[in-house]
Symmetry: C2
Subunit: 148 residues, 2 copies
Amino acid sequence: MLARELIDDYPLIRADDPALAAARMIGEQRLPGLMVVDDGGRPLAVIGGSQVLRFMLPGYVVEDPTLARVMDEKLADHLSRELEGKTVADLLPDKPAALPQLGPDDTVMEIASVMARERVPLVAIVNDEQLVGVVTASKVFSTICPAL
Amino acid sequence: MLARELIDDYPLIRADDPALAAARMIGEQRLPGLMVVDDGGRPLAVIGGSQVLRFMLPGYVVEDPTLARVMDEKLADHLSRELEGKTVADLLPDKPAALPQLGPDDTVMEIASVMARERVPLVAIVNDEQLVGVVTASKVFSTICPAL
C-alpha cells in the first residue's frame, strides 16, 4: 500500500490561525494532533496532541504536576490569557523538529517507521513542497493489521 | 474540572490479549493508544499509537525508514508473523515507563501536565490500585478550550 492510498480527510491548520482555534479543533474533532501549513499550503509542522499541551502550559507546570493542582484556577486563567491573541506559530517550538514527511509513492511501512521513530501520530505526504495529504497512525494500523 | 468528570468510555486491553487484536483495535476504533490492564483490572501501561508501532517494527527499520521501503513485502510478512502468537505484554517495553496515572479528584490541569510531560495521549485514573477510567487528550482540550 502506498501513501497516496492511505490519505485521510484531515483538517489543516495555518500557522497564522489563532492558537485557541487550534486547541478547540483538537478537542472537538478528537484529532491526534495538528497538521500546520503556511499560507501557501506548504506543510510546516506536525504536532501531536500531548506536544501541543506542552507548548500551552508553563514549563514549571509540565515539570511538576503538583504545581498544576495548587494553582488550578489561576492556571486556567493563565492559559486562556496566554492563548488569547497568540497564533499557532507561537505554539511551535523555536527549533521545530524535522517535519515528518514522505512522498505519495512511499509505502505504509515507511510511514510506520517514521511515526515510530519521530513518535508522531501523523505524517505529511508531500509532493513538490505541496501537501498532498495526511496519513494518521490509525490508518496505518488498519492497513497493516486489517480486521479479520 | 476533576478527573472523575472527564472519564471517557475507552476500551481496555488485557496484557494477555493477542497483540494483533490490540493493533486492530487501534485501527478500527481510531484510538490514540492502548490502556493495558492485568487480569484483575489493574492498570499496567499506557502506550501511544506511535509507541505501539515502535514495538511492532524491527529496530533497524525504525532507525532507517529507507530499509522499510526496500523490504516492504518481506516486512509486512515479518510483521504478521511477529505478531502471531504474541500478547500485548510482549509489546510492552522491558522497563515500562511509570504509568501515567492520577486520582479521580485530580484536576484537568494536572492531567494536562502529566500528558505534556510523559508525552502520552491518555492517562489512567486510578483509585485503590483499580482503574476508574481513562482521560484522553482530546477530552482535556475540549475542557480547557471549550467550543465558543
